[in-house]
């Protein structure tokens, strides 16, 4: 907590660098952040450094072993596995990178608002949130995806909507911790409106909790996105995507294991990177997230 309070007194820019420094001072945080940045950089420059077109098929070389021409071999259509693995995270990072902030934003605002208002409306909302959380994520997502199609214009709002619901809970709980404090009472006594109180008093105090929650949501969203791709409800071929690549290459695993191993390494390293960063961020901001539901 002592660490947190020194950040609080500093300006926003200083505070940002302070948090980054704190994350990097832990070995797991440094590794995590490095993995995340490496993946983002790869997503940006990937198209310029890959050795082949991701759609380039070579009928003479299907399911070939690693060689000088194809470092990780080729898939069942003779496409270069290395190229497709290097590009396989772009769609996932794009979709989850937009959907995560949206989810935290809407879930956070709704949670803070109802945390402040409280009472009967709040009780009803919480029951609805509970009801949504008791349905398996895949069912909720699939209903919308089957209805509206599988493009990213459907996936982004779908992910943002469903992953915002658990954020409501976190934001509400964080607001309850703050709402009874003196400075909120003081703001009420001064006659400030609800939205001024939310903006000036509550949001700055729940921001850290929401940041950590957002980092965790990002990794879960990525997991959901790649699972959907794997099941055939996410990215459509021929776009390279790790989940889809694993699903395609699974049948040929016995003679060309690189086809599944390469995308597995890509996906796992990004997800582990996000998780390590999120954990380090939680510690740097002094947020306790010992009790986390696997929802």
């Amino acid at each position: 907590m002592a660490v947190t309070s020194t950040y609080r007194r500093a300006g926003p820019v200083q505070r940002f660098w302070g948090v980054i420094k704190d994350i990097c001072s832990r070995p797991s945080g440094a590794i995590g952040l490095a993995l995340v940045f490496a993946h983002i950089a790869l997503a940006l420059i990937g198209p310029f450094i890959v050795p082949y077109e991701y759609t380039a098929m070579n009928a003479a070389q299907m399911l070939s072993q690693p060689s000088a021409a194809h470092w990780l071999g080729t898939d069942h259509l003779g496409r270069d596995t290395l190229t497709r693995t290097l590009l396989g995270g772009r769609e996932a990072i794009l979709v989850t990178g937009i959907a995560t902030p949206l989810a935290v934003l809407w879930g956070g605002l709704v949670g803070v608002f109802f945390g402040l208002v409280g009472g009967r409306v709040d009780d009803v909302l919480m029951r609805i949130v509970d009801a949504f959380l008791s349905l398996p994520w895949i069912l909720k997502m699939l209903v919308l995806i089957v209805t509206f199609g599988t493009g990213i214009e459907v996936l982004i709002p779908t992910l943002a909507f469903f992953y915002g619901i658990p954020v409501i809970r976190i934001a509400r709980a964080a607001t309850h911790d703050v709402v009874a404090r003196d400075f909120v009472q003081a703001a009420r006594a001064r006659g400030h409106g609800r939205f001024t109180i939310i903006w000036q008093e509550l949001l700055p105090n729940v921001r850290d909790a929401l940041l950590v929650e957002g980092a965790m949501r990002w990794s879960w969203m990525l997991l959901a996105f790649s699972s959907l791709s794997f099941l055939g409800f996410g990215v459509s071929p021929p776009t390279p995507d790790w989940g889809l690549m694993i699903a395609d290459a699974r049948g040929f695993m016995s003679f060309s294991p690189w086809g599944v191993i390469a995308p597995m390494i890509g996906l796992s390293s990004l997800i582990i990177g996000i998780n390590l960063s999120a954990d380090a961020l939680a510690k740097a901001l002094g947020i306790d997230r010992a009790q986390k539901a696997p929802v």
Binding site: R127, I128, D130, A131, F132, S134, L135, P136, W137, I138, L139, K140, L142, V143, V146, T147, S219, L223, S226, S227, F230, L231, G243, I246, R250, M253, S254, P257, V260, I261, M264, L267, S268, I271, I272, N275, A290, Q291, A293, P294, V295
Partner: protein
């Protein structure tokens, strides 16, 4: 105590009721209905109208919801439009198969998680703890389909110990699922153990550092007696809830794992039914899974209350 129990149960029932409404609305917004799915290309004109009238789809949504909910309460989940078979019969076998998977994972996972978590906490920061904790984080964060594919690659393709895919039909006797079911159970156990052991470990570490544990040690209670009498009973209480959440997750998480292994369970049936627009089946499965989720969480709350005198008597102390 009793009023608390009633309150929790009532809240659980309200949640299930809301879930049934959400499911019904969700399925309503799916394009097409049972008739367009069943008739496929011939779904037009008189044929479609007749079919809709036969199945009662021409009535308003709230009437159909009432009928569906009333039937579901009495255990009648409706009739599948294609085969004219009882859904409860179709779903029954799948539910049994998924329960086989889940109970296998629970029976292996919970003892394993308790053991590994406690040992890792007692040997904090030693090599054993570091290995266990790192493996747990990896197992928790990596998507299930990746760990499942990895295990198939290692144990089925390379080592050839167990089959990597399930070929048994859904209504075969349970004994025929061996040894095919072992690998799916292993994947579920892995993920489940990772979640539970993390909580067990941090809870035991926290309790070891508590005043009363230190006090016991200082007044000369032997170390192991301190661990078993003072630390574990207190440390394991919070894990009840995590176990419940993990079991609830299990029922949703099996969807992906069942698809990877081609396992004829409830999860794969759900995916198939959504893709095929088999709406009554989708509704039935969603309702079953949500009820189990609510039920398991309720049970965990009650168990925690029974086991923890402070919660049991909370109302006496005016809280």
């Amino acid at each position: 105590m009793l009023s608390m129990l009633m309150r929790r149960s009532a809240l659980g029932l309200i949640t299930v009721w809301l879930v049934s409404i959400i499911i019904f609305i969700g399925v309503e917004i799916l394009p097409g209905d049972a008739c367009t799915a069943f008739l496929e290309r011939e779904a037009q004109g008189l044929l479609l109208e007749n079919c809709r009238r036969d199945l009662g789809l021409d009535r308003p949504a709230w009437m159909r919801y009432g009928e569906w909910a009333a039937n579901a309460l009495s255990g009648n989940l409706g009739v599948s439009p294609d085969g004219q078979r009882q859904i409860s019969e179709l779903v029954g076998y799948r539910l049994r198969n998924t329960l086989l998977l889940a109970s296998g994972a629970i029976l292996c996972g919970i003892p394993l998680a308790l053991f590994l978590g406690i040992v890792a906490a007692l040997w904090r920061d030693r090599p054993f703890d570091i290995i266990v904790s790192t493996t747990a984080i990896a197992a928790m964060t990596i998507p299930e389909f990746v760990s499942a594919t990895l295990l198939i690659l290692i144990f089925s393709v390379w080592l050839g110990w167990v089959p990597g895919i399930v070929l048994t039909s859904s209504n075969a006797p349970l004994a025929e699922f061996f040894p095919e079911v072992l690998l799916p159970i292993a994947v579920l156990t892995l993920v489940m153990t990772a979640h539970i052991l993390r909580t067990v470990r941090s809870s035991v570490i926290e309790t070891l550092a508590s005043d009363y544990a230190q006090m016991a040690l200082l007044k000369g209670v032997p170390y192991w007696q301190m661990v078993f009498r003072h630390v574990l009973p207190n440390a394991l209480l919070p894990t009840i809830n995590v176990v419940a959440l993990t079991i609830a997750w299990l029922l949703g998480g099996v969807v992906v794992i069942e698809t990877v292994f081609n396992y004829p369970g409830l999860g794969r049936m759900m995916i198939d039914s959504i893709s095929d627009r088999d709406l009554p089946v989708t509704q039935a499965i969603a309702l079953i899974i949500a009820s189990v989720y609510v039920g398991v969480n309720l049970l965990a709350d009650l168990l925690t209350m029974v086991a923890n005198p402070r919660l049991r008597t909370a109302h006496l102390r005016g809280k």
